[in-house]
């Protein structure tokens, strides 16, 4: 019968009209994120051996690190600065796979909207300069 | 000066003003829109003349259909700039004089004629009366108008679509 489809469609919409909502009330209600979620990156400077693998693995030159010779024997490299420029990050996780020490990992943070673009790039570690 | 008198003068001014604007407006679309205003004013006159049904019909058909058609026609035939689209031709002065003479003649005739005015009141509702007249006394004109409209519609369609050549 002509018009059957129209009536069926109305039935569906009316069913949903009186049905429950699916919405997650975001700002009040935090989303439940899976453990593997690719949020922004966290860096643990304690274990870093300054091998630079993360820097080479990154496709987009996001990671920049500075180091100096130092330590007890003067041969060990010591991290002085570790900057992640999130403006260029693709959140692919290649750096995390590359890190032999597990210093880098994804966090569950995702709200980083800013009013200024350079606030996005993040200095993860900077050695305090002793005066 | 009763209210209806004031209303009459206002409407008369609107009708004549917009009618003159139809002639003088340089942009054809504006002219057409002024024509709509004229029709509207005329419908107001019908209300004053206690022809409520006719007033409504005037709006429904003149404003709602005829004027729209005309504006449509304007838009279909003019696509670029609309300035200077409503110009008068070279013989406008002759025409003007002719029309003025005619107007004087009309005025003379109207004012000189002693009209026999009846002082009956207009009927309360005209719709029923009109319907009855149309289907009794004027049934043949009514049918003819129907046929005329049909023919006009068919003619318009054939004209615009172009008659298909027979194989």
């Amino acid at each position: 019968m002509y018009g059957e489809g129209l009536i069926k469609g109305l039935r569906v919409t009316l069913k949903h009209f009186f049905g429950p909502h699916l919405t997650q009330y975001y700002p009040e209600e935090r989303p439940i994120l899976p453990p593997r979620f690719h949020g922004f990156l966290a860096f643990d400077p304690e274990n870093c051996i300054v091998c630079g693998l993360c820097q080479t693995a990154c496709p987009n030159r996001v990671i920049s690190l500075k180091s100096e010779k130092g330590g007890e024997d003067g041969k060990k490299r010591i991290l002085t600065e570790y900057v992640l420029d999130f403006r260029y990050c693709m959140f692919c996780g290649l750096c995390i796979e590359a890190c032999p020490k597990g210093c880098l990992k994804f966090t569950h943070e995702f709200e980083k909207a800013t009013y200024h673009p350079d606030e996005i790039s993040q200095v993860m570690f900077r050695k305090k300069v002793e005066e | 000066m009763s209210v209806s008198t004031i209303v009459f003068w206002i409407i008369a001014a609107v009708v004549l003003g917009s009618a003159i604007s139809v002639v003088t407006a340089q942009n054809l679309v504006h002219a057409a829109l002024f024509m709509v205003l004229t029709f509207f004013g005329v419908s107001g006159l019908y209300v004053l003349l206690e022809a409520d049904f006719l007033a409504v019909v005037q709006i429904l058909i003149y404003v709602g259909a005829i004027a729209v058609l005309i504006v449509f026609g304007v838009m279909l035939t003019q696509r670029k700039g609309m300035e200077e689209t409503n110009v008068s031709s070279s013989h406008k002065w002759v025409t003007g004089i002719l029309v003025t003479i005619l107007m004087v003649g009309f005025a003379y005739a109207v004012t000189r004629t002693p009209w026999q005015v009846s002082d009956h009141a207009a009927p309360e509702s005209t719709v029923g009366l009109i319907g009855e007249l149309m289907l009794t006394r004027f049934v043949i004109p009514f049918e003819i108008v129907g046929i005329l409209l049909l023919v006009a519609v068919l003619g318009a369609i054939i004209l615009t679509k172009g008659a298909r050549r027979l194989p």
């Binding site: - | 031709s89 013989h91 002719l98 003479i101 005619l102 003649g105 005739a109 004629t113 002693p114 026999q116």
Partner: protein, 629 residues
């Protein structure tokens, strides 16, 4: 019930009209549904018709209902129904045959792509025919008269992809126009002379009218209609060709109902014809001649449907002749019985054609009797009825006609009628023996038709057997006591009965000898009477004569007129035009081609004229008091 049927007789044509509308607008896509709906509607009409007949039988009076259709001073047109015994009988016959034919068509038309259309046309036809029958005035009758003509046209040309069908449809339509034109003129005369077209009113007025000469003209003009519609002599040519349509159509329209509309019209307007004896005589002789003429053609034809068509012509001639001699009862009686057995014949022929996959030549048939028992039996019954064998239907009605002819002093016509009865029996049994009992044609694989087709045959066969008994002269209230003109009379003549039966049996026997036993060689006779045979075989060359007439006389006249037009009229016109042209050269500079200029001149002229009138002759009152008067 009966009273309801009589009071609401408008429903009878309305039901098929409903079917037509429903099929055209809604059911066209569903062939079965349209067939069923159509049949249901016509069945309803049939039931109503039974009610009408019942009412008439109980109380044979005239019931008229009418509403004003349109009126203006001088003319008042009505629409209405008139139910009296004649129309009651007709309503019954038409609905019955239409019902049976429609049922039959389910089987006959199956697998036809135009199935729904066919039923729509059938319904339209039934509506028009029934409308014609119940009409109470000439104009309404004429409207339906034309509608049945239209249906006939549509149905003859139903298989319009066949060239012959298209041509036949056109022929039927055009030929009928000739007669209808006369009919329309007659109606106009009646309206002008008497100011009314109502049958009952006219029946009251006409007998008092004195200008017999004028009335004769009117009557003959009206008779032109039946000549066309009922295929009387000069305009009979369309009917045999009309057999191009589907066979049920031939049965319904071109045998049982539409063609008898002419006869019915004469019967309806009998008061008119009775008033002018000369017209009645013309009718009688036209009918008699047609009966003889068609019958002679029928004996030489080979196409099964054409034989039946000529037979129909012949029988129609009979009916018209009966009317002409004043035997309204006989004519109507024959109309009814003829409807039964002729419809049966056509349906039987259709069954045969259906079984043989559209073969129509009787010489290609043969030996159908054992393969198609029901068809054969019913066909033979019908043939016997047509031949007028006691006690079948045709016997009674034919004798009535012969009796009427003789008792009214038309001895010549009586002799012709008797001879025609002989011819009828002969050609019918020629057909039967050749087609059903002849040598089987090895190419054919005939099979009995399905139930939907045979059941109507059986019903009609029963009617053909018993249908005539209602007119038995020995009954106290027989057919003639309901339908009559003037006063009812009962009479019979054993001698006539005997003669006609013997004559018919002789015809059958002759056919038996010639075509079954083959003791008399048909070929030899044909050879012997070569010129006559050829004349008959070619239907008296009527078609050729018409063709010649049109080619030579009409076209010749046209050529003469053309010459005159070209050299005389055009010469004058061209001369004038040349003069005008030179004049035009002088004044063409006034023509700018600009509409506005013309408009301006027009308005200027109006202004000038008004001013002049106003100034010169104030008494014209242009400026003073137009509204004052």
């Amino acid at each position: 019930m009966t009273q309801f049927a009589i009071d609401n007789s408008w429903l009878i044509p309305f039901m098929p009209a409903l079917a037509f509308i429903m099929i055209v607008f809604f059911l066209r896509k569903a062939p079965q549904a349209s067939a069923l709906f159509s049949i249901a509607c016509i069945f309803t009409s049939f039931v109503l018709a039974l009610g009408v007949v019942g009412g008439i039988l109980a109380n044979p009076t005239t019931t008229e209902h009418s509403v004003t259709w349109f009126s203006m001073p001088g003319v008042s047109l009505e629409m209405g129904t008139l139910i009296d015994p004649i129309s009651g009988m007709m309503v019954f016959v038409v609905t019955l045959i239409a019902l049976l034919v429609q049922i039959y068509s389910i089987g006959y038309m199956e697998n036809d792509p135009g199935y729904s259309t066919y039923f729509a046309y059938q319904s339209l036809f039934a509506m028009s025919m029934l409308g014609l029958v119940v009409s109470n005035n000439f104009l309404q009758m004429f409207v339906f008269w034309e509608l049945v003509g239209l249906c006939s046209y549509l149905l003859i040309g139903f298989w319009f992809y066949k060239h012959s069908a298209r041509e036949a449809a056109k022929k039927a339509f055009i030929t009928n126009r000739v007669g209808d034109f006369g009919f329309l003129l007659g109606i106009l005369f009646l309206q002008i002379l008497f100011g009314t077209l109502n049958f009952t009113d006219l029946a009251d007025i006409i007998p008092t009218y004195t200008n017999i000469g004028l009335l004769t003209v009117v009557a003959l003009l009206v008779f032109a209609g039946p000549i066309g519609k009922s295929g009387q002599f000069p305009l009979h040519v369309w009917l045999p060709d009309a057999m191009e349509g589907p066979t049920p159509v031939s049965a319904l329209i071109h045998a049982a109902t539409m063609v008898v509309a002419g006869v019915y019209l004469i019967a309806r307007a009998f008061f008119l014809f009775v008033a002018v004896p000369n017209a009645l005589m013309v009718i009688a002789y036209v009918g008699g001649f047609t009966a003889f003429f068609a019958a002679t053609i029928a004996i030489t034809q080979n196409d099964i449907k054409r034989i039946l068509a000529y037979s129909t012509l012949s029988q129609l001639g009979y009916m018209v002749m009966a009317l002409g001699v004043g035997g309204l009862t006989a004519s109507m009686f024959h109309l009814m019985t003829h409807a039964f057995f002729k419809a049966l014949l056509f349906l039987g022929a259709g069954s045969v054609i259906h079984a043989l996959h559209n073969k129509q030549d009787i010489w290609e048939m043969g030996g159908l009797a054992p393969k198609m028992p029901v068809t054969t039996k019913t066909f033979v019954i019908a043939a016997l009825a047509l031949a007028g064998i006691f006690p079948l239907a045709g016997f009674w009605s034919k004798d009535e006609i012969l009796l009427a002819a003789l008792s009214n002093g038309y001895t010549g016509l009586y002799l012709i009628g008797t001879f025609v009865a002989f011819l009828t029996a002969f050609y019918m049994f020629r057909l039967v023996f050749v087609a059903f009992y002849g040598e089987p044609n090895p190419e054919n694989h005939p099979h009995e038709s399905p139930k939907v087709m045979t059941v109507p045959l059986i019903v009609l066969a029963c009617l053909s057997v018993v249908g005539g008994l209602v007119g038995m002269p020995w009954l106290k209230t027989n057919f003639g006591s309901y339908i009559y003109f003037g006063e009812a009379h009962h009479g019979y003549s054993l001698s006539i009965m005997l003669t006609s039966t013997l004559v018919a049996l002789a015809g059958i026997y002759l056919a038996y000898l010639m075509y079954y036993k083959k003791t008399i060689s048909a070929e030899a006779i044909a050879h012997r009477f070569q010129p006559i045979y050829k004349l008959l075989y070619n239907k008296y060359y009527i078609d050729e004569i018409y063709q010649w007439f049109i080619n030579r006389v009409v076209d010749g006249a046209g050529r003469v007129a053309y010459w005159v037009d070209l050299y005389v009229v055009d010469g004058v016109v061209n001369g004038l035009a040349n003069g005008t042209k030179w004049g035009g050269y002088l004044v063409r500079y006034l023509q700018t081609g600009q509409t506005q200029h013309y408009g301006m001149v027009l308005i200027a002229a109006v202004v000038v004229i008004v001013i002049l009138l106003g100034l010169i002759d104030p008494s014209m009152g242009i400026f003073a008091g137009g509204g004052a008067k």
